[in-house]
């Protein structure tokens, strides 16, 4: 149980996918302008991370490893995740239109997102069990959400700031992102010692 909590917390804070591992930077910069789109995107990412892990972990363990095809991991995962997300979109559109309305725009955007692929592959590399993988995915998704929501707050402050012309737009966003990511470095080493 302690291990699961450590996995969850470290996925959210220490190994935050955006701010420490630098995965999923595209939605981080692209969709963080407004709070509601940032939340929508993050919810979609959490959702897709969980189902992607739930599908790819068994594929790796029961299909690729026994047939000694572990090296096909990347391409098979991309294929399966992309198809899965499309399938989920079709199912949502048919049965839960309200959820499709709020997540629908973001789902196709994250079919081949590197954060999703990163989570599924790192779950295998770390040697997690199925439960641990799911917890890690949930934590990564929550960490993604935390970073997105924090950063959309930072960006709304930037809107009103008087920024030098040469820094306007992407440059100041990247500078702000790096400072936000610095603040997450402060969590390093905290959680391992929390349960000692």
């Amino acid at each position: 149980m302690t291990k699961l909590i450590i996995i969850l917390l470290s996925a959210v804070f220490i190994n935050n996918y955006i701010l420490t591992r630098f995965l999923g930077i595209c939605p981080f910069l692209g969709v963080s302008k407004k709070l509601d789109s940032a939340t929508g995107m993050s919810l979609a990412v959490i959702f897709v991370m969980l189902i992607a892990t739930a599908v790819t972990w068994p594929i790796q363990m029961f299909l690729l490893v026994p047939s000694k095809l572990g090296y096909l991991q990347t391409i098979v995962f991309i294929l399966v995740i992309a198809a899965l997300v499309q399938l989920v979109e079709i199912v949502l559109k048919r049965y839960i239109p309200s959820l499709h309305k709020s997540l629908g725009v973001y789902l196709p955007l994250i079919t081949t997102n590197c954060a999703i692929l990163g989570v599924t592959i790192l779950n295998i590399d770390e040697g997690y069990t199925f439960i641990e993988s799911m917890v890690n995915s949930l934590g990564s998704g929550l960490g993604f959400m935390l970073a997105m929501i924090m950063f959309s707050g930072v960006r709304s402050k930037l809107e009103g700031a008087d920024i030098p012309k040469s820094f306007k737009g992407l440059p100041i966003t990247l500078v702000a992102a790096s400072i936000t990511s610095l603040s997450f470095m402060g969590f390093g080493g905290v959680i391992e010692n929390l349960f000692k």
């Binding site: 095809l69 098979v76 294929l79 079709i90 048919r94």
Partner: protein, 266 residues
């Protein structure tokens, strides 16, 4: 060779399985979209101006398809032609569109009024308005920075001599300029009614006279000459009721300060 096949075949199989699942899912769980939607959408001009009161052309098309009884004559830029097409596609009665044109209710250009301050701030009407109500002597008049010009999808607004003017043949009547004007000087007027009061100054006549030579002084002469009682002085400025106006032009002929004009549609 075997190594390559061992890699390729599983990936192809997985890809094929995924494809079959997706095709089946798409067929089984297809959501029926109203087939009239693309037809309706194609009828609309696609300017997304919002004059119909819906969120863009897609929003209007959706409302037309989904809600029975949505009027087909709401698209002002599209005018009668679009209304006709829409009613054909939807199989409802054709309704005439009242074509509208934007009118700037101010004639205070550089020759008739002056600036009271030397404004050096942001070049926009809404910014200038924040600073003691604008740079001109008349606090109701056109600020001349062209907020209306920048939102016009059709380049129908020109700034001449510090005053916004509508080039009527280009105006499609979407009303975006009316929303952009911080002094609410622009209104939409039916195209066929060409008489317009070109002043919005609500001060008493003497005060208006001091700040602008072409302002309405509220003398009520137009009220008296109007044969259909369509014109009334409200808050020291003449206002035309276009439901009653018969476009005779008597008000413009008799206006003391020439602030009522017959606009040229050409």
């Amino acid at each position: 060779m075997n190594v390559i096949l061992a890699a390729v075949i599983p990936v192809v199989i997985i890809g094929f399985v995924c494809a079959v699942v997706l095709v089946v899912a798409a067929k089984v769980m297809a959501v029926k979209e109203d087939e009239r939607f693309p037809l309706v959408r194609d009828c609309l001009p696609g300017a997304n101006c919002g004059a119909c009161g819906f969120a863009g052309c897609d929003g209007y098309a959706k409302a037309l398809v989904e809600k029975e009884g949505t009027p087909t004559n709401l698209c002002i830029p599209g005018a009668d032609a679009v209304s006709k097409q829409l009613s054909e596609v939807l199989g409802v009665e054709f309704e005439d569109v009242v074509e509208m044109k934007a009118v700037v209710h101010c004639s205070g250009d550089c020759s008739s009024t002056e600036d009271s301050v030397d404004y050096r701030g942001i070049e926009s009407c809404s910014a200038a308005k924040l600073l003691f109500g604008g740079k001109g002597k008349c606090g109701y008049g056109c600020l001349g920075f062209g907020d209306c010009k920048s939102v016009c999808p059709n380049d129908a607004v020109v700034i001449e001599n510090g005053l916004a003017k509508i080039c009527r043949p280009y105006c499609v009547g979407c009303g975006l300029c009316a929303k952009a004007c911080p002094n609410s000087l622009i209104s939409l007027v039916p195209e066929v009614k060409t008489a317009a009061v070109l002043c919005s100054n609500k001060d008493k006549g003497a005060v208006t006279r001091k700040v602008c030579t072409s302002g309405c002084i509220g003398c009520r002469k137009c009220e008296k000459v109007c044969p259909s009682q369509a014109i009334k002085v409200i808050d020291n400025v003449a206002v035309i009721d276009y439901d009653k106006c018969e476009n005779c032009g008597a008000c413009a002929e008799n206006c003391t300060t020439k602030c009522i004009e017959i606009l040229n549609n050409m």
